[in-house]
Symmetry: C2
Subunit: 501 residues, 2 copies
């Protein structure tokens, strides 16, 4: 594959000088228009050591307006990064709408590095390549313009450059830490690179293979490619395309054929007060202890609370937090995104709230809004929410891989119970603020929500993050169930973590 | 002082049970109204080891709505915190408008700890107490409701509790790491605490000294005090009060008496092109090397660019960034704050952008907007901008203490030069977007801006962060001046850092 980048392509200085001013003006214009259109542009720049990635990035900073441009390097992994799922550090670096982010090496540098130092076995490499494809697809689907450059040098040229740098007492500052070390293993690197490039060269996120031997050629080609990529993107219409595959089965019209998972929930389950008190006391003590054990073992927990309006999410969360030490958890209520959040991929706001190892984050509503309210209310076009099931599974899989205990609760009540609770709220002065016109409107769409919930549970109940559907007509029953499930899951995970450090 | 918290005050269980439900309802109501009013509430909870700070915080979480409540502990200092000015970690934890933040120990825990382990000498303690007073004053002035609780126990009671915990195999989980160690030095702790409390017990941010021996008394008193603090704050009118001291000297009306610092600037300074090229080449190489030397030495740089419209801030920044490696700097343009930023103290958005050690952040406009555009355009009431000079000095002093090289440039042009540039922009198609009606309006307020700039320079040119007023009618001259000043300052600081590690 890399033969195509060893053709000796080059550009004379005078040709370069002639072409550069125009390219520069066009690039600035493209940047300005991408900003106006609110397109996030993500550049990934990687390739063989010594190919001049640093020089190229500097050139791009010279050409572009540095005020909407940010380059991210991943030289060292900080404590805060190590104590979160692996991709958290990349999500921190994602450009907002209208910004350009350059990821130096990006997720490829880490993969190459881990593979070459045997920190990843064959399955690990395969898994990471699949992960990369998924995430890139998701970013592109979410509206990011992703442009990936792979800089190549023939082996002789790399050896020559490394040697030249080694001799030049001034230039060692410019060398990224790895350059010298890596140059001795050119062939092994190319074998791996061939595979990585091939397996991640997708329709949505193609690689641009750049012959980097001649600097003027390298820089001008990258600049032009970037400019064209932005122009192409801006001129393409990005209207939501129609769904080409209907993703839900076409059910017969008969009532019996339309049974959902929710119809199977035994909403009569109830817990008498004395039993509730007894269980609660035991579970309180157990959860408190588990909180501290998890803290000591540096084990993170994420819990998601979804449910019908008035199903008791708040009260249930409160029972959990009463058991836990306040220093160990955070409750994150999900409502309107802030403008910074709205300028990013919809999962960004959840990534930024992930707990460090040892802590708990409890989400009062969550990323499932995408396939619930946004779907039912038509806030998000169908292709976008239809894709979200897979995107969410990919996200949760990453939490699981990092060892997060992920708990997902759906609090289920019947329409009658909801009505009673609404009416009770409307009558109690200090609870009136909890009930709005929107709650009544949502109620009218009960069966649409039922279908959405059913599909959500079917598609996102995974082995690493199953849904727990909690009968919640009886609050005491629901609360104890949630506490019990949380305690069991955390106890199991903390124990297994201790056994395999 | 602490005798007042050894009076044996207590509350029977039945009294507690009677009072709690009402307090709880009132607290929730106060929280809701503080949220509606957009008041940020900051609770600091500290005191002697074993007094039950953890229990108390848990109680508050039980009483309050945990969705707008976040507790922050500062057990370990992460890499990312260590590599920034000391108070960065507290600024990260500041509640937004309408939120409640509980800082466990807050800035007092660190001070007490450092003082008792001789990591701070007498001057250090004095300095930190002054810093605390300044910051608390600033937060309160900025609209934060700051409520500080100091929990006290007599020595016998502390010893008893620590012993009881030590014997109870279950309860050790609840013990904060320091408890057992600290209990052996009760008298020394109280001596230091007396001083700390006394020196930080100010009119704006008083301490509430809480007798913590009896748990029901402790919790109920804290809850009631908090509730009353919120109510008092909400019922107080917070209209900007009139300025009681005019902070600028009253100058005679004669023109000659109204000379500003800007009138002394030699705007005729210019640099011929050949000299410019020569200087630029040398400075480019020098700055590039300094960037890497600073990175190796983990030395951070913050540069602020202010100046008249069309003075050439963008072009000057660009000359600096062309010299630096793109991996080492970030350019932060300051325009409208995001909604998250607008919900915090005006300095918050700058704190969050501070570079890690080894990196540079270049601000294109900055916190000085507070005393320039916000003052001149009347966007901020006079008492607020009048206070800002001192607040800014305090902020910059903290950067200097951490070892940041702080560079502040005012790019100065004459009104005639500005007019020419505006007209040239209006005529050049690809520069038309750079000139707006607002630019023309600002121009009419030239003398108001002159007065504001003069005062800004007078009040914020400090020994640790002087202003550099750069004659910028000639762009070449201005650019070389900025590069030269930056290179000299960074070289000096990196060198002195190396010599005193």
């Amino acid at each position: 594959m890399f033969e195509a980048a060893e053709l000796g392509r080059c550009l004379s200085k005078s040709d370069y000088r002639e072409a550069e001013p125009e390219l520069r003006a066009r690039l600035l214009d493209a940047q300005r228009r991408a900003r106006a259109a609110g397109v996030p542009v993500l550049l990934l720049i990687t390739g063989v050591a010594g190919a001049g990635k640093g020089e190229l990035v500097n050139r791009l900073h010279e050409w572009l307006d540095s005020r909407n441009l940010r380059t991210h390097v991943f030289w060292d992994e900080t404590d805060e990064e190590k104590q979160r799922p692996r991709w958290w550090r990349y999500w921190r670096a994602m450009p907002a709408a209208g910004e350009i982010g350059i990821l130096f090496g990006g997720w490829y540098a880490k993969l190459m590095d881990d593979a070459r130092h045997a920190r990843l076995d064959e399955d690990g490499i395969e898994g990471e390549l699949a992960r990369i494809r998924q995430v890139e697809q998701m970013l592109v689907d979410g509206g990011t313009l992703l442009v990936k450059f792979w800089l190549h040098l023939p082996g002789r040229e790399q050896a020559r450059r490394v040697e030249a740098r080694r001799r030049d007492p001034k230039s060692h500052w410019r060398m990224a830490p790895e350059t010298a070390r890596e140059a001795n293993h050119y062939d092994a690197f190319i074998d791996l690179a061939t595979r990585v490039v091939r397996e991640t060269d997708t329709g949505e996120a193609p690689w641009y293979l750049i012959e980097a031997t001649d600097r003027p050629f390298r820089d001008l080609t990258v600049g032009q490619t970037l400019q064209r990529a932005i122009e192409t993107r801006l001129s393409a219409r990005r209207e939501p395309t129609d769904v080409t595959v209907s993703h839900a089965p076409a059910l017969p019209a008969a009532e019996s054929a339309r049974t959902t998972i929710l119809d199977r929930v035994d909403t009569d389950l109830a817990l008498p007060k004395p039993e509730y008190k007894r269980h609660k006391q035991t579970l309180n003590a157990r959860l408190n202890r588990l909180g501290w054990e998890g803290f000591e073992a540096r084990h993170p927990v994420v819990a998601v609370f979804e449910g019908w309006d008035a199903a008791g999410k708040g009260g249930t969360i409160r029972r959990l937090t009463e058991a836990l030490d306040a220093r160990l958890y955070t409750v994150v209520p999900i409502a309107q995104p802030s403008d910074e959040e709205a300028a990013h991929h919809y999962l960004w706001r959840f990534w930024r709230q992930l707990p460090r190892d040892g802590y708990w984050t409890l989400f009062d509503r969550s990323w499932y809004g995408r396939v619930l309210v946004e779907r039912v209310e038509g806030l998000t076009p169908e292709p976008d929410w239809a894709r979200a099931y897979h995107e969410i599974n990919t996200f949760e899989e990453q939490l699981a891989e990092h060892g997060v205990t992920l708990l997902k609760f759906w609090l289920h009540i019947t329409p009658d119970e909801q009505l009673q609770r609404f009416e009770a709220r409307a009558e109690t002065p200090h609870k009136q603020h909890k009930i709005t016109a929107e709650d009544w409107r949502n109620r009218e769409k009960w069966s649409d929500y039922e279908a959405a919930i059913n599909e959500m549970v079917v598609r996102t109940s995974t082995e690493f993050a199953p849904w727990h559907i909690i009968p919640a007509n009886d609050k005491r029953h629901a609360r104890i169930e949630v506490m019990r499930i949380a305690a069991e899951a955390v106890a199991r995970d903390v124990k297994s973590k201790r056994q395999s450090p």
